[in-house]
């Protein structure tokens, strides 16, 4: 089981929050290492989230939800 994290987009503020904007991959789908699975947004800046490993995606944070950077947004098994 590998965690997929909300990327660290703010260096000044470790507890900065952002929004899970888009899931490109869906719950239960097979994803490949390096595949773009989501896009997140913080202070009008977008960032891609890529799968750190191959496997089955388990979504933990739904679209539109605000979380602290570094939070687990999904796991891959």
């Amino acid at each position: 089981m590998t965690d997929v994290l909300f990327p660290a987009m703010s260096q000044e503020n470790p507890s900065a929050t952002g929004v899970l904007a888009t899931w490109f991959a869906r719950e239960g789908e097979q994803v490949a290492a390096g595949q773009v699975v989501a896009e997140v947004q913080m202070d009008k800046v977008d960032a891609e989230v890529v799968a750190p490993t191959s496997g089955t995606l388990h979504v933990q944070v739904e679209e539109g939800v605000e979380v602290t950077q570094g939070s687990v947004i999904a796991t891959i098994s």
Partner: protein
Amino acid sequence: MTMTESPAQTRRLNTSKAMVEAIAQEMRANPEVFYLGEDVGKYGGIFSSTTGLLDEFGPERIIDTPISETAFIGLAVGAATEGMRPIAELMFVDFMGVCLDQIYNHMAKIGFESGGNVKVPMVLTAAVGGGYSDAAQHSQCLWGMFAHLPGMKVVVPSTPADAKGLMTSAIRDDSPVVYMFHKGVMGLPWMVKNPRSIDVVPEGEYVVPIGKAAIAREGADVSVVTISLSVHHALDVAEKLAEEGISVEVLDLRSLVPLDREAVLTSVAKTGRLVVVDEDYHSFGMSGEVVASVADVDPGLLRVPAQRVAVPDVPIPYARSLEYAALPRQDRIEAAVRKALG
């Protein structure tokens, strides 16, 4: 369509990433391809039409230009006549007013004026469309105007896969191609959420031929012929009316030049009812041309008069309520479908 889709293929992208993927693939394969325009480099395109390309290809091939559309579109025309394959971005199609001479007198006409001896293999990209309160000078579609002027192919993808496939075709085409992307279909996190802007996109080489419409949804009772974001709205309406047993066919034209008139005729021959939805102005545009495609060949195919749902002949209002009233959104499309069905 040279589509090699397997059931296992689920890799999804939004429309902007699909467009960028096609540009990157063609740039890797062909050193003659380069991209230029305002904020296309470090910024990545204000509607993410070039995100990440500067990092891979550098400032010699992803060129940030000064705010002079005449100069950089003229540069692209010149480079194309000398054998390069430039992609020039007009940030908003509304800005065509300052550079139209380069577009319709030069880019579009050099091929004719040279008796076909000089080709202009360039792509002119432009963001189009409204729905997000950007008012009269930043919300127009204007594709009817480019389609009206001879010498340019005009493509307007509505889905991520078509955005990739039509961009590949546009870059490879030896004619000038105007590639218009609606801001509302790009799948941008900061725009109005649009679930239809994220979908499966084939990996690797993917080509969608210019001039071929696609049936976005099959139906039997009425044909909704449309393009771009209006395809998404029409699909919303089709889904809703299906619950009442009304079967709406949605035809996505995908290209305006060449126009797939055969696909329009085939659909109307089946349903006998035609609703044309166009986010461009009502008069002298795409909606009239599509109706003429039927009337010129066999007006008897129409069991009821054709309906046109377009932007009334006024500038797009700023106020959200007025803007929504002017745009061909779901409510107006549904009303037109119901009227066609009597």
